[in-house]
Symmetry: C2
Subunit: 495 residues, 2 copies
């Protein structure tokens, strides 16, 4: 049947959708989310049917096209196209199968992932898939096959190296920027570590946000490869390299209900490691009441899963379970964290010692795995000799940043408020969630200079009137909001 | 923060959605499906956030509005609005709870249904709800509370009658138009039966499609009330009266994966009966390999559920399990079925005897429940005396149709093909699915005159060359498609 194109002048963000009027839908026996084949001369495409109830939006006899469909057909407003009913993507049958509690095969999961990446599945169909994985769980076999499919249908970084190191942290600890110290140490030791990191979602900064203070992080796969070939390492934003395309599309659907099906989460993490051909992966699982992993039992369970699945994907996984009860480092927020990291690498006396201690342990573990003897001493030497700092400067330069940046000149928010001890005593509770919220309200991570500087950590003794922390903001109003929030929820307690 | 309105010139079909550019989303810390409060002068509304990746669709600094949002705000292109982050609807927390396998309370289900009806929940959120109900099931208590919430938040027909009759069929049998005979019989007997029926989804005709051949079926609740007050009965399209608003919105999401969570299905059926204040409901469960209910065990299970849930909703449920192995009546398709029904009521010798037999049994059951003695004889008298026919004419007139329509003059498709017996023998398999498919391809239910007329039923003896069935179509090409399909899949077998 023939229909006249209406340019809807809006994009869906990927999925191919065409809308027809409810009257035509009834006539042609078409339903919401059916698939149609649209032809215009030599061009054709499949699209998902949306039914418009209003004649204003899409009048009968017309087909409303979103940008993606117009592009595929090289079509414009008022063109005439021919449409036919098309079969639904095969993945839908497998999603139904999973909904009914059956296990999916490698071939079936591969088909679903392929269709996700190619934007063949609608939001509703993806939601059914996530629901099914959440409620029915994924077996180890399914998780492995799902992760392999994500790697197959995503970008890959191909380096000709026998050993490639990577690292992941399950998250929830403000200031925990280990990657930015770990990468230069490992790279300086002569090993390869092509690190991709995320931006913050609910925290005051992700590694990508903090690294961005020092250098661009939105690298293409080609650029990332060049940086690693030159320096042995990189600290790039994972979102730009598109190493796990399917994953990004699934996260969009998982976010509204904050659903993290375990199998999907594991597959997503390990697929990103497999996509850079990592051979050794260090997983940091911080445990604390405010981190993602709340107790040792959960951490041990996850450790086992990571190891099993990693092994089946050809990676060696090394898990460390760490203390996640309080923030790490002194600065929270991109600029404050970047300052701390450069101070650490420069061996400044003001450097964050807790972060250093943790990184040294992690780096030693990785070097030990790589067969290096006296790994801890080696790591300390690399730090003390300035080799790590030099390597970081190389990486910053290769990514396109200024290697000679002075940490003390990294701009901070000019509106500040320092919270001082109202009495002498011992600090006994620095709450991750409060610190993160206040830093975000103050403007982090969007305002790079916003955040919180912790003068003192937990169990430290303070005297009445001594500074405990300072809030930085680039905006007077945001500072006020942050102080209001702090007043409402409390934060650091002194006994 | 302030944004400039971009009129997207398209409707979502109900849900309030506003799109902002990905850049702004990052700046304002907004995510896909977050809720925002939009203010324009004295007008304000909550909307679901959609993130536009393309600057062409929604440039930074702009907010793309779908029709529904523009209407609420009385806003137009280039107006400036103020937006603020808003809390998500409370139903989302309950959907998460259900996803985790917990039971929902009356208050929680009520909140979800209210938000569904008010278009507060997105497709993705609704999909999570349906998935959870499908995979975790609904208890009897949940089903009852869900049904009650649907009634509460939908239209209701309030008649001041002690006894109100209704009927439901689980479906899957072509030609099974019992309601159109049952309603005039019950109404003629002096009882009230305000019947709402569906249009066809996958069958060649729904009762609403067939009744529409004789009279308008898209009645408002007020009109339906008037028809029933005048005639004791009506045969209206359920979609127009909006008795179960939440249900219609859920069906849209259930359709793409053809998911029918049992609890949701039961709640949906009984909510529609409760919405007309039915006191007695007859449920017809046809059992056959091609019907929805495949075997006696399933039918018995459903019978029990219907009775238990109906009782808790204050209705008496009477279930009959019937033979669903072959089509009922001779005509399949709106016009052919309407002809058969009028012939039956007019006592024409050509009337469909199998349909009559089934309806007499059902009507007798209903009258018996109403306390009528010798119910079967009474039903036969009502039919034979022409009382039922007169009542049907009253109903047709009250709904706005022509009461004097001659069944033989109801137009049929002018393109026909008669399939004749290739050998003498006994017909042993008339396949419901094939008959339904062929009738649909021939044009039913959209083309009222399209369909199939069965000259002979199963177990009848035919001689070589005798007509078995005739296909009617309003369109030459569609007749050809129907014949092609019949050739491919077979249909009626003779032994």
């Amino acid at each position: 049947m023939k229909l006249k194109v209406k340019d809807l002048d809006i994009a869906t963000g990927g999925i191919l959708v065409a809308a027809i009027n409810a009257e035509d839908a009834r006539k042609f026996d078409l339903y919401h989310e059916d698939r149609i084949l649209i032809k215009r001369g030599k061009y054709e495409t499949t699209a998902i049917v949306d039914i418009a109830e209003s004649k204003k939006a899409v009048p009968p006899g017309c087909i409303g096209m979103f940008e993606e469909v117009l592009d595929k057909l090289h079509a414009k407003h008022n063109d005439v196209v021919d449409i036919d009913l098309e079969e639904k993507p095969e993945g839908i049958a497998y999603i139904r199968k999973k909904l009914k509690g059956k296990q999916l095969s490698k071939k079936e999961l591969d088909a679903i992932v392929k269709e996700i990446v190619e934007d063949d599945l609608s939001s509703v169909e993806l939601t059914y898939f996530i629901s099914a994985c959440f409620m029915k769980g994924m077996t180890v076999k399914e998780t492995v096959n799902f992760a392999k499919a994500i790697v197959k249908h995503g970008g890959q970084l191909k380096l000709k190296k026998k050993q490639i190191f990577d690292k992941h942290c399950t998250g929830g600890v403000p200031g925990n920027r280990t990657s930015m110290v770990l990468v230069p140490i490992i790279a300086a030791a002569g090993f390869v570590m092509p690190k991709t990191s995320s931006r913050s979602i609910t925290s005051p900064a992700g590694t990508a946000d903090t690294m961005e203070v020092l250098a661009p992080v939105s690298l293409s796969i080609e650029k990332m490869k060049k940086v690693v070939q030159k320096t042995n390492g990189c600290i790039a934003w994972g979102g730009a390299v598109n190493l796990a395309a399917a994953d990004d599309k699934l996260i969009r659907i998982r976010h509204p209900l904050a659903l993290d099906p375990e199998g999907m989460l594991l597959a997503s993490i390990l697929a990103k490691k497999a996509a850079v051909n990592a051979t050794h992966v260090l997983i940091d699982i911080p445990v604390g009441k405010d981190t993602k992993i709340k107790n040792l039992k959960q951490a041990r369970h996850l450790e086992k899963k990571f190891s099993t699945i990693g092994k089946k994907m050809g990676m060696k996984i090394h898990v460390i379970i760490t203390d996640g009860t309080e923030p790490i480092g002194k600065g929270i927020g991109p600029a404050l964290e970047a300052r701390g990291i450069l101070r650490l690498l420069k061996r400044d006396p003001e450097r964050p010692m807790d972060l250093e201690k943790k990184v040294v342990k992690m780096a030693a573990k990785l070097l030990h795995i790589a067969g290096v003897k006296n790994a801890k001493q080696k790591v300390l030497n690399i730090l003390e000799s300035g080799l790590a700092y030099r390597k970081m400067k190389e990486i910053i330069k290769a990514q396109g940043g200024n290697p000679n940046i002075d940490p003390e000149k990294i701009p901070l928010g000019k509106y500040t408020y320092t919270f001082r001890a109202k009495k002498s005593g011992k600090i006994y509770d620095i709450d991750n969630v409060t610190i993160a919220k206040v830093a975000r309200v103050a403007g982090a991570p969007k305002d790079k200079g916003a955040g919180i500087y912790l003068h003192k950590h937990e169990t430290f003794k303070v005297k009445k009137g001594e500074p405990i922390f300072t809030i930085y903001s680039e905006n007077k109003k945001k500072l006020k909001f942050a102080l209001d929030m702090l007043g409402r929820i409390g934060g650091i307690h002194i006994k």
